[in-house]
């Protein structure tokens, strides 16, 4: 029983990381059908922002708190720049966007290498987040994992509320559901796109801050994360968030269980096979947005 719960929590905490890195993608991929391969590098930017802030702010706890909004803005600004300079010109060609943003991600990686050096760097974690929480039954849960879970859930909640309740959220939903009709109704779709891209990229920055708690950060960290993140969005179905949330946790638990029963590498293959099998059943993902648009 203890083992079962332990694995379940491991799965949930893997899922929380997946959710955090995929949330921004769910927004940008969902709204604009844009495959942003540089999303992983925005995560990296968030992580390095934490690192840089720690050079001047000595308190690990304070620097983490400061890093969250700063990383959001840094990554978000990078996203808006990318959108304005390149992606906007390529809306009709989603596959080409993929290749172009991959080129951008290569350059950003090299930039990180030139600025921070190729070896991984380490950030300090606040004291509060280094310990464990002991649960009855001899179970322990690492504090940093709990923090990431809380951050992921908070981000989902904030995003959901923003999409549901604010005028901006209403406009975003309108553009996702039917871009032409939204444009006809007087919504400046290109401005909404830019804002969405800011939010989505900013969420990548948040994910980057959270990942500094789990291990060292380096120039290629984004490449390793991006595929998992895209798989979550593809399987979850684009156009809404709940699919990504469910799938992130499901894949996390599947990965943890597979790892427990076999090895890490076999577990990855199991997850891949499960995804292909799942897409046989629902090729458009878990939830599809039903619209009358003919696109």
């Amino acid at each position: 029983m203890t083992v079962l719960f332990g694995q379940l929590f491991t799965g949930i905490s893997i899922g929380a990381v997946l959710l955090l890195i995929a949330l921004g993608l769910a927004l940008t991929f969902g709204q604009m059908n844009v495959i942003n391969m540089a999303h992983g590098e925005f995560i990296m930017a968030g992580a390095y922002t934490t690192y840089v802030l720690q050079q001047s702010i000595t308190g690990a706890g304070l620097s983490l708190v400061v890093a969250l909004p700063v990383a959001f803005v840094v990554a978000g600004t990078m996203g808006v720049l990318l959108e304005v300079l390149l992606i906007r010109r390529l809306y009709a060609r989603p596959l080409d966007t993929l290749l172009v943003t991959w080129g951008v991600s290569l350059m950003l990686q090299q930039l990180a290498r030139d600025v921070f050096g190729s070896p991984n760097v380490q950030t300090r974690a606040p004291e509060l987040l280094t310990g464990n929480v002991a649960l009855p039954g001899g179970l322990t849960i690492a504090n940093n994992r709990l923090f990431i879970l809380a951050l992921a859930l908070a981000a989902v909640a904030a995003l959901t509320l923003a999409l549901r309740l604010t005028p901006l959220g209403r406009r975003i939903r309108a553009v996702v559901q039917n871009r032409d009709l939204a444009a006809v109704s007087g919504i400046a779709t290109s401005r909404v796109d830019r804002t969405t891209f800011f939010l989505g990229s900013g969420l990548a920055g948040l994910a980057g801050v959270a990942l500094t708690l789990l291990g060292p950060i380096g120039p290629t960290m984004g490449t390793n994360l991006i595929i998992d993140a895209f798989l979550v969005v593809v399987v979850g179905g684009i156009g809404q968030l709940k699919g990504s949330v469910i799938v992130a946790f499901a894949l996390g638990v599947l990965q943890a269980t597979g790892e427990y029963l076999t090895t890490l590498s076999v577990a990855k293959v199991i997850v891949f096979v499960a995804i292909v099998a799942f897409l046989q059943w629902r090729p458009q993902g878990l939830f599809t947005l039903r619209t009358r648009s003919l696109a």
Partner: protein
């Protein structure tokens, strides 16, 4: 070629969609030009290059030509079929590993085990799945058939359920990621991160001998020319027209009574077979196959050569792949960091602003020369941009 198309199959009484058929051209002249082109290519590869280049440079060219073979396959699947496959490294790797396993076993002699197994593993005997590769009659066909079988398996599942566009690209990339993780994880039987290294012999020939290295080069050059001839026949056949039609309007082709899934599947499997063959020949040319050569990054680097050269043309992918690989060696020897920037910039500039690749520059220049005469869609035809527009999944 198109003037003598046979009657369509009974399922389809309609002609192929308008726009898929290249404008008519005098068939005889075109064939003559193609033959002249092949003769020129053969002269360059077989006579000029070995005379001009040193042994070291010739070995590098052999490596580039292997990459070019993968590029030819990507040109079919992506340029002609609209399937952006970001996982060709998997097929390249399957071919390469199949060949390397055979060569390792041949080096080790009958009953012997490859050196790395004794190094890492507590293995007492050869793993079961290694054993068939001792026989060249199994290993050589396997270099091509294994990738084709994997591509057939994935493709028939995915295309039938109409997973396409970006979804397909991401799945193919995830396949590359899964394969690399599996190879690294099973270090005892696959060599892990190091891969299969130190391959000395090639069917009884010593690979350290420069004469034999030249022989390998000639085999590779000949194979590439043969693949190009095959590809030319393929893209100028009825099937080639159908493939372009599926790329430009999958739903329309379906309504005409064809099955787009099988059309795409054939292109994907052919591309996989070419990548497998390339991987198999890469091993004797370079002497190593490892996860670093087949993962996500190399897989996407295969694509950049194709994009630079011109995705929808016959020669574009080959020239682009060789040019990019050459530029990479030339620049990364001296300025490793600069090359990465340049590579990223190439992706951005070529794909965003020159989607037809360098081949389209050539076509543009020609149009200017000829003046009013329309550009003919020959084997350096412009890649058309309508393709992906139809691939936006209905969201």
């Amino acid at each position: 070629m198109t003037a003598v198309t046979p009657a369509p199959p009974s399922t389809a009484v309609h002609p192929a969609p308008v726009g898929a058929v290249p404008p008519g051209r005098p068939a005889g002249r075109s064939r003559l030009r193609t033959l002249a082109g092949f003769a020129f290519g053969a002269a360059v590869l077989f006579a000029v290059a070995p005379l001009v280049l040193s042994d070291f440079r010739l070995a590098l060219l052999a490596k580039y030509l292997c990459v070019a073979m993968v590029a030819v396959g990507i040109g079919i699947a992506w340029g002609r079929g609209g399937m952006l496959t970001l996982g060709q490294g998997v097929f390249f790797g399957l071919g390469g590993y199949a060949m390397a396993m055979h060569l390792k076993l041949a080096d080790a002699g009958p009953g012997g085990m490859p050196d790395f197994m004794q190094l890492y593993g507590q293995l007492d005997e050869l793993p079961l799945w290694w054993r068939p590769f001792a026989s060249p009659w199994f290993a050589l066909p396997a270099t091509v058939l294994l990738p084709m079988i994997v591509a057939f398996g994935l493709g028939s599942l995915v295309f039938r359920r109409r997973v396409r566009g970006a979804y397909f690209a991401i799945l193919s990339q995830a396949l590359a990621a899964a394969m690399v993780i599996l190879l690294i994880g099973q270090q005892g039987t696959t060599g892990g991160t190091n891969g299969l290294t130190d391959i000395k012999g090639f069917f009884g020939y010593d690979l350290d001998d420069p004469v034999n290295q030249r022989m390998v080069y000639f085999v590779i050059a000949g194979t590439l020319l043969a693949l190009l001839a095959l590809t030319r026949q393929l893209i100028h056949s009825r099937y080639g027209e159908l493939l372009v039609a599926v790329r430009d309007g999958e739903e329309r082709v379906r309504f005409l009574g064809y099955d787009p899934a099988s059309v795409k599947l054939v292109a994907y499997v052919v591309a996989a077979g070419m990548a497998g063959l390339a991987g198999a020949l890469f091993v004797p040319a370079v002497g190593i196959i490892s996860p670093a050569l087949i993962g996500i990054v190399p897989s996407i680097e295969f694509v950049i050569g194709v994009a630079v050269g011109g995705r929808a043309t016959l020669l574009g992918p080959v020239l682009g792949a060789v040019a990019v690989a050459w530029a990479r060696t030339a620049l990364s020897e001296r300025f490793p960091g600069t090359w990465t920037y340049l590579q990223g910039l190439l992706f951005v500039v070529v794909v965003a602003f020159l989607p037809g690749g360098l081949a389209s520059l050539w076509a543009l220049a020609r149009r200017r020369d000829v003046g009013a005469r329309p550009v003919r869609r020959g084997w350096l035809s412009l890649g058309r941009r309508r393709a992906e527009r139809t691939e936006v999944p209905a969201a």
